[in-house]
């Protein structure tokens, strides 16, 4: 089957991939990582390739470049670049194609650049290799390229090494390198995933501009539906090595036909989503590609699945002009399954181990059902159970806890004039002598978090939000200021008292791989806090472990397994169970879902909500992802370069931000809706975060602010009130301030007791 969407026949196809099949040969098995994938990219067009990790989208890109790892082999199909089939070229011929006709940029610009040579030399390199250009001429061209991709002061930057540049600048350099030889096709593999939203918008704008100017074809590989909506002309959705839907971008978002694409779109937290509903999720996990059972690969997770889905595998069919779908029962072709027919939806046992779905997986639902039976309650739909019947479990109110007005609850956390500075030392590094300078991570933050609420802390990387979170969790000592939790100053405690005091607040980590000791079994991991705190005897501790596993939706068998036998989402749950073991009042979650795929992310977010309701937890969620914060938070704080610039009820802050930075951040989040995305102003926040060692005077945001005036450089803006509980620090706010009382714990005049640096 080599049919593909052909739009705009006037344009020449640059790349045609036909029935591509790529295999990874492992020691014991073979994984088909790309299975019968066909796509076409035309001149000046951007084709989006979207899917979750492991779906084969990056492998498709690498197959086109023939840059597969040693175990990867292209075993079928054609990759036509113009008239030439790249799969038949010799390695020497292929080298001439790479960087010349086709260029690729990767997610991590640091590891893709050579740390030992200057960026000027690296950008000039493709010219020197492919055209034998003289060194001076190549350097001149490199300078032009750096200027073209928007590197400020390119002449001076030419002599910099990669580590001297920020992430955004490095990605610009990568793009400059890729485009030096003016390729016909650019493959961008998650080009902005490692970057902040503000920088992401700038880089994507740059790619858009260059694509137009050079009429280049772009294959944009991403997991982000928002990026797809804003930047691509056509989209192909991949699932488990196969293409499942392929159509124009507008069509995909208006009339999604494949249940997977539909579910993927639904499970993205929306900026407009009210926090009182559960997110729709895709139950279970993608299939193990070494062990396919035949039939539609999405069927076990599909709520539209019928018996025939399990027997034959659907192929891509053209439903209407230019809209290809691989599904027997596309969305909208037949009535939605009735709500009372749950048996049609195959129960989705969650494989405990990626390699082998064994008994624990099969046992999962029964444990949950038994717990429910014993307790006489119904737990919220969650991934371990059979998927909820009918339309996704949306619009389900999240219990009484959220219904009670969090604004009137007593205060749990009080942060007062908190400072944290890291000394930058020179010399022998022995710790002697005064520091040469300091990184001002947190500069005088005061705020309160009420009991039972979720406080979301937003900001770009490097703004100090993680540092603040770690201080509140008791993992770091502030330079000055106090943190009171439940009236107690945790950081003033010492020795045994401090160790006991740590029960009250727990940290949930970003990286579920790094936060669990690989040499301990899951049971021991969850039991560890109980053991350390000496709570209960051995038997009680193991019982508590079993209970916690039930709460996070894992079988008790999980106790005997090691962390590496679980998927990322399951590991994050185990981390959550461990954080819950001591019944803490406060959980500080540092980017709790940013390492997870969208469908898994929504499972974790729902679980966090449910646990909050069941246990009256207070969350402090630190994230760069404003959609996630919008979904979770009651109150939002926005940090910029160590300062709190805006603080208030989530709805107020999102709907009517007072600070230009907050407005800019919200503007730049890619929304999975082409109509909104295309009408957006270009990159609302300019430039990059200044150095926290020497922050700008006055308002720290002034160097990137579209509204900045002279006053901003001279005076630090005071906090002003913009509504009940809503404050912001700006000289020229986006709405007039009111004379209301400030929320408790927030000082309007931010005076630094030690003088501002």
């Amino acid at each position: 089957m080599s049919q593909d969407v052909m739009t705009d026949p006037g344009k020449r196809p640059v790349l045609q991939v036909q029935n591509l099949r790529t295999e990874f040969r492992l020691r014991s098995s073979t994984v088909v990582a790309v299975d019968d994938v066909s796509l076409t990219v035309h001149e000046g067009e951007c084709l989006g390739l979207v899917g979750e990790s492991g779906c084969g989208k990056s492998t498709t890109g690498l197959s086109i470049m023939r840059l597969l790892p040693r175990i990867g082999h292209i075993t079928g199909g054609k990759v036509l670049l113009g008239e030439r089939d790249l799969t038949t070229l010799s390695e020497a011929e292929m080298r001439k194609v790479r960087g010349n006709d086709v260029a690729m940029i990767f997610q991590d610009p640091m590891t893709s650049l050579n740390p030992t040579s200057t960026i000027g030399v690296q950008v000039a390199e493709p010219l020197r290799i492919h055209f034998g250009t003289h060194r001076k001429a190549a350097a001149k061209r490199a300078l032009e390229m750096l200027d073209l991709v928007g590197v400020p002061n390119p002449r001076e930057r030419m002599d910099d090494y990669p580590h001297q540049l920020s992430g955004g600048l490095r990605q610009r350099v990568m793009i400059a390198m890729a485009l030096t030889a003016q390729p016909k096709l650019l493959i961008a593999d998650e080009p902005t995933t490692a970057l902040d939203v503000t920088i992401q918008a700038q880089i994507l704008d740059l790619l858009d501009r260059l694509r137009e100017e050079l009429s280049m074809a772009v294959l944009l590989i991403t997991h982000d539906m928002g990026v797809i909506a804003g930047r691509t002309d056509r989209v192909m959705v991949m699932y488990a090595a196969k293409a499942v839907e392929s159509t124009s971008t507008a069509e995909l978002f208006e009339d999604t036909r494949h249940p997977y694409a539909k579910a993927l779109l639904e499970s993205v937290p929306q900026l407009t989503a009210s926090s009182s509903t559960l997110l729709p999720t895709i139950p279970g996990q993608p299939p193990d590609l070494t062990n396919l059972t035949g039939g539609c690969r999405f069927a076990p997770r599909c709520r539209h699945a019928k018996p025939d889905c399990g027997t034959a595998e659907p192929t891509l069919e053209e439903l209407e002009a230019g809209h290809l779908v691989a599904c027997f029962h596309p969305v909208g072709s037949e009535p939605e399954p009735a709500a009372d027919a749950p048996e049609l939806a195959a129960p989705a046992p969650e494989p405990v181990a990626d390699e082998a779905a064994d008994e624990p997986a099969a046992e999962l639902p029964t444990v949950v059902q038994r717990v429910q039976a014993v307790l006489g309650i119904t737990l919220e739909p969650r991934p371990a159970e059979p998927p909820p019947a009918g339309p996704p479990a949306a619009a389900e109110p999240v219990g009484a806890q959220a219904a009670a007005d969090p604004m009137s609850a007593p205060v749990l956390v009080e942060i007062e004039r908190l400072f944290k500075e890291y000394p930058v030392r020179r010399g022998l590094g022995l710790g002697f002598g005064p520091p040469a300078a300091s990184v001002k991570a947190v500069s005088g933050i005061s705020l309160t978090i009420r009991r039972g609420e979720t406080f979301g802390l937003a900001g770009e990387s490097g703004c100090g939000k993680t540092t603040l979170g770690r201080i509140v969790a008791g993992h770091e000592h502030p330079t000055a200021g106090t943190v009171r939790i439940d009236g107690k100053e945790i950081l003033r405690l010492h020795g045994a008292e401090l160790r006991r005091g740590r029960r009250q607040q727990q940290l949930m980590f970003q990286d579920p791989y790094a936060s669990l000791n690989p040499r301990m079994r899951v049971g021991a991991i969850i039991r560890e806090p109980l053991m350390v705190q000496g709570s209960g005897n051995r038997r009680q501790q193991w019982e508590r472990v079993a209970e916690l596993l039930g709460e996070i939706g894992l079988s008790r068998r999980a106790m005997d397994l090691y962390p590496h036998e679980f998927s990322g989402g399951q590991r994050q749950r185990i981390g959550l169970a461990r954080a819950l073991a001591l019944n803490p009042g406060l959980i500080v979650a540092d980017e709790p879902v940013s390492a997870l795929d969208v469908s898994i992310q929504s499972q974790i977010l729902n679980l966090m909500k449910r646990l909050q309701r069941d246990h009256g937890l207070t969350y402090m969620v630190v994230s760069h992802d404003l959609s996630v914060l919008r979904y979770l938070s009651d109150t939002i704080g926005v940090m910029y370069l160590g300062k709190l610039v805006e603080y208030g009820p989530a709805d107020d802050v999102y709907d009517a931000p007072a600070h230009p930075y907050t407005h800019g951040l919200i503007q730049t989040i890619p929304v999975p809706d082409p109509k909104i995305e295309r009408t957006k102003e270009k990159a609302a926040v300019r430039g990059e975060l200044p150095s926290p060692v020497h922050p700008p005077s006055g308002c720290r945001f002034r160097t990137r602010c579209p509204l900045a005036q002279e006053l901003c450089a001279q005076q630090e803006p005071p906090m002003q009130v913009f509504g009940p509980g809503h404050v912001a620090a700006c000289h020229f706010p986006l709405q007039p301030p009111t004379t209301l009382e400030p929320p408790p714990g927030v000082q309007l005049a931010m005076t630094d007791p030690r003088g501002d640096a």
Binding site: G431, A473, H475, R519, V545, R557, D560, L561, H564, R578
Partner: protein, 297 residues
Amino acid sequence: MIAQAAALPGEEISRPSSIWKQSLATFIENRLALAGAIVLVLLILFSFVGPLLYHTNQTATNLINENLAPSGSHLLGTTPEGRDELGRLMVGGQSTIEVGLGVGVLATLFGMVYGSVAGYLGGVVDAVMMRIVDALLSIPYLFFVVLLAALVQVNLLVLILVLSAVSWLSTARLVRGETLSLRTRDFVSASTGFGSRMRHVIARHITPNLLGVVVVNGTLKVADAILAFAAVAYLGLGPAPPATNWGELISAGINNLFDGYWWQLWPAGVLIVAIVIAVNVIGDGLSDVVEVRLQKR
């Protein structure tokens, strides 16, 4: 209330299955390591059980029988002193294996404790501790041995201590580096986050994750110590006769090599090479065992 869930009928809180069985299975899977282990066991049996079956006089010299070629009464001939060569190899094997294992264990244990404390505490303590290691590493070990031989009567215990005193340094460096990176890992933060003491963190989180490198490093130390012992003995600085070891036997064999007395050199050489290779491949197998990820379940 949910505690009832734990008491549901028909479900025991399962105990972890035997970790030893699993480890053994993983080790056996590495065929080379298995062969190494068999060779090591055979060499130990040869050295310690051999003399019980093959009786020879290893104390008195017998100049009438010097330099005899292999024959029915002396399976591997005799030494320049007229002792039975095969019996000599057995006695020499005892001290060689004792020194190798002794130094390997001692140096690894000390280096591991020293390195993990330095790495965990960091800062000034770490700087001072590691400068001491640097200073000691700059002194060649043969200098130590020569100095000691001049001062005291070198016996096996002294030799083990001296070789360990040199050998632990690189282990300490390695462990310190690993600890530095482990200590900043999230699971260590998590553990201190719910109130663990340093002792607990080192025992439960740092040490188990060090095992892989330390075990492999330890087996290399055994091999190194055997070779160092051979070198020391070759220089004539080892324990005095009638004690012997494979290194000394090689030394003696080389003296008579041009007389064609091959049996005085080659068997000892083959044994040293065999034990060093065996120990190295065992280390390889052990590193598989401590690497949980490789364990099939």
